[in-house]
Amino acid sequence: MPISQEVLDQLAISQGEYEAIVERLGREPNHLEVGLFGSMWSEHCGYKHSKPLLRSFNTTSERMLVAPGSENAGVVDIGQGLAVVMKVESHNHPSAIEPYEGAATGVGGIVRDIFAMGARPIALLNSLRFGPLTEGRNRYLFQGVVSGISGYGNCIGVPDVGGEVQFAPCYSGNPLVNAMCVGILRHEDLRRATAGSPGNLIMLVGADTGRDGIHGASGLASRTFEEERELRPTVQVGNPFLEKVLIEACLEAAESDAVIGIQDLGAAGLTSSSVECASNAGVGIRIDIDAVPRRESGMTPYEVMLSESQERMLVVVKPGREAEVKAIFDRWDLRSDVIGEVMEDGLASISESGRVEAAVPVELLTDPPLYEPPAMKPSWLDDLQSFDLESLPLPDATPSDVLKTLLASSNIASRQWIYRQYDHQVQTNTVVAPGGDAALLRVKDTTKGLAVSTDGNGRFCYLDPYVGGMIAVAEACRNVSCTGATPIALTDCLNFGNPEKPEIYFQLREAVAGMAEASRRFDAPVVSGNVSLYNEAQGEGIYPTPVVGALGLTEDVSSHTTAGFKGEGDIIVLLGRSSLDADASELAGSEYLSLFHGTVAGRPTIDLDLEVAVQRACRSLISSGIAKSAHDCSDGGLAVALAESAIIGELGADISSRVEDRWDISLFNEGQSRILVSVSPDNLDALRTVCESESVPYVEIGVVGGAELKVGEVVAESVADLTDAYMNGLPRSLETPSHS
């Protein structure tokens, strides 16, 4: 065998896969060729452990102009000749190694995915997971990641409008950094990742190609890395200024009919971008290595093809029109070079100095082996799910203290410390800024608004991956509904451990099934996604953490709500329940359970019929102007949701509903399908009518007003004190002296 085991290990190609390559090719591949296979068959590019599962996702709706699949993302029509594309992608392993650059280049990569389609990026979001902030390394990673997102995102002029961050011990060795981008385009400006017909020219635009990021896709993203701490050379360094210029130049080029297709160079760089464009058009592609501008001399074709240098784009140009396209990039002082040609032969051919260095059929590269490994329900799951939550004693703390502790906890406290480091207003579309349930953006020159949110609860998925998957979709949609917008599309990032372990594959399979089911019930197709497997450190997997990004559309952006209470005397109504009574089982996976009983247990549940109805009722209350505020009841439960509405609205509330003896269950359970709204007393009848026509249970629980939050006989706290706990919780966690 001419290819050494060391090379296969570098590429994370198994012996069986190597044998498959030899068999399909009918000969031994050379070093460069095996590099091409290694990249294209990597988990990151080839989705070999997830593709069969992902087929269960609903990807169609009346609004889908272009179905996802070969493109970076499906294209969702929003009317008036406009469409939206969006995608979320992980940069977990690079961020674990070098948090600033890992996160920064994560942002850069997802933004390129969006403008490659001819769409202007209009919003960024991030879903982050870290180990507890009591450990010094976790604080370093968290602060580094936030700085990286801030440093890159702020420079490119795309507002960072939302996201979420959670902390749990399982993420200590393996943080999650998922970046999402939303873009908007006119239908006619859509550009596909296609090579078009033979004779078209392949142009490489932007940064020169260096030796950075080689094996990023195959090595770093496609395996665990406990034994590989010193991997910094595989993490790229971002240049956000170049990215900003690329956005403007590529969008200008996309308007020219000389441009056939555009594709970004992401994971596996030139290899995946050129092969994907060729595959999408059913043609071949010839790359001339000598024409690729390089940062340093002596780079081999292998290094050039596998480099993951950032801020590069592939542009497919009609023959004879290259000069006019080059003129666009020249104006922006960007380098652009013709590096190859589209061929009829169906081969990916790489040549240097006139010598063919590699020639393999494109269709073999894009057809990796697919695995459906054995799945096995984890042996510990039954015990966790049947944990007797009723047997828990009341905590040794007052309800007020529990509330303040939750509000100050790193999982619930205000994210202001983060989002004030992100420019969330540039482009002047941000109608509802971060800090509530979902961000809301106006669409200029229309009355429309787009709401965006990300969500994902690893604890729920750990306790029940199928239900957790459903809840991730439901919560992301609920956030969007709380602004008044209707969920119309989803994107997802599946962060899981090593799928070759049956327990992990079980989690992946179940979570995907739950997400798919919920997506169908909301009629919100999954338009794009990304899979990040092998999220493990020291042999321990993370919580199964699917992150869901939801896009909502409202036809009238001016009639929206925010989470804060609005006026003295308004009536507070809980949608989705007919009383505050709850069952102990609804404490499953709650923040309260984790913080005060030190346990993650129970079995979360969700009734999707109720969920869909509650959200529909909420949107109806908002669009008709009945609801003055709306807030999702989730992490920390009802008491936390009430406190947040009070803090944001700078208004107290008096909750007169009776609270049961087990106040912890009533106030801090995290049962699903609940939304807190406030309405003026004049509109109570109208609210009742809406809820009854939607068959949604509801309960009037109290009145807005004063400077205190009072809940029955059990809580009475000044809004000022609650605000202090909530607003300063996160910065105070960061000041905690290091224990490690």
């Binding site: 420079c155 200024f241 900003k244 004030r420 002047t428």
Partner: protein
């Protein structure tokens, strides 16, 4: 009247400024590419925010050498109105059109948030539509907005009424708590000695529409329109 919105590579407030002065203010505007030099017909030049040339080396340090800056200097020396916002303020300082420098925020973090600005003088082309002591609510978005100048310069700025805006609290008190970046004397915006060039770190173009959370930014743009309509600037349209 017509605004000229200058675009450097890396500028990102150009579109926001354009929208504010056309859609919200109802005036004319045109973009001016940094490699161009023609500013004829323009009544007021806007040097918008962003990260021109990535702010590499130092914020504004490279942009000041763009061809358009020669025209900006000539336009300003002829009395034309120039407003530099955020990165535009940094560029005007680097170009020597305004005194002082903008250093990294004292807490070393980027800040995007609403701040209050006290109008320190109404005797400028940029504040004549407000009252002295008015409190304007305007967003900031910067990592390097920490205004610094030596004592002599500060005294001159103060004595000549060149301090246009100071960071203040809701009631208009200029306090250390209201200072978002460590700027000396809470300075948020200054003019040149002649009063026709303004630099400010906050973004008035972000608050010209009620949907965006406020309209106090319009006060600044309306002041410019008012100045131009009263006495068209000599150096401007004739250039």
């Amino acid at each position: 009247m017509e605004f000229g919105v200058i675009v450097f590579p890396g500028t990102w407030s150009d579109g926001d400024c354009y929208t504010a002065v056309t859609d919200n203010l109802g005036e004319q505007a045109r973009y001016i590419w940094h490699k161009d030099t023609d500013v004829s017909g323009v009544d007021c030049l806007i040097v918008p925010g962003g990260f021109s040339y990535g702010d590499y080396l130092r914020a504004g340090a490279i942009a000041r050498f763009s061809p358009i800056m020669k025209s900006v200097e000539e336009f300003a020396s002829g009395g034309g109105l120039v407003i530099g916002i955020c990165n535009g303020f940094q560029i005007l300082c680097e170009a020597g059109l305004l005194p002082g420098v903008l250093m990294r925020n004292d807490h070393l973090q980027f800040r995007c948030q609403w701040v209050n600005l006290r109008v320190e003088t109404t005797d400028t082309h940029f504040t004549n539509a407000s009252q002295k002591g008015d409190v304007l609510s305007v967003p900031i978005s910067h990592g390097e907005g920490n205004f610094y100048a030596d004592e002599a310069t500060l005294k001159t700025l103060q004595d000549n009424g060149q301090i246009a805006f100071s960071y203040c609290d809701d009631a208009g008190n200029v306090t250390p708590e209201a200072n978002p970046n460590g700027s000396l004397r809470n300075i948020a915006g200054i003019t040149n000695a002649e009063g026709n060039v303004l630099g400010m770190m906050p973004h008035p173009e972000r608050c010209c529409d009620p949907l965006m959370g406020g309209t106090d930014g319009l006060t600044i743009f309306r002041s410019i329109v008012q100045s131009i309509s009263k006495s068209p600037i000599a150096g401007a349209s004739s250039a």
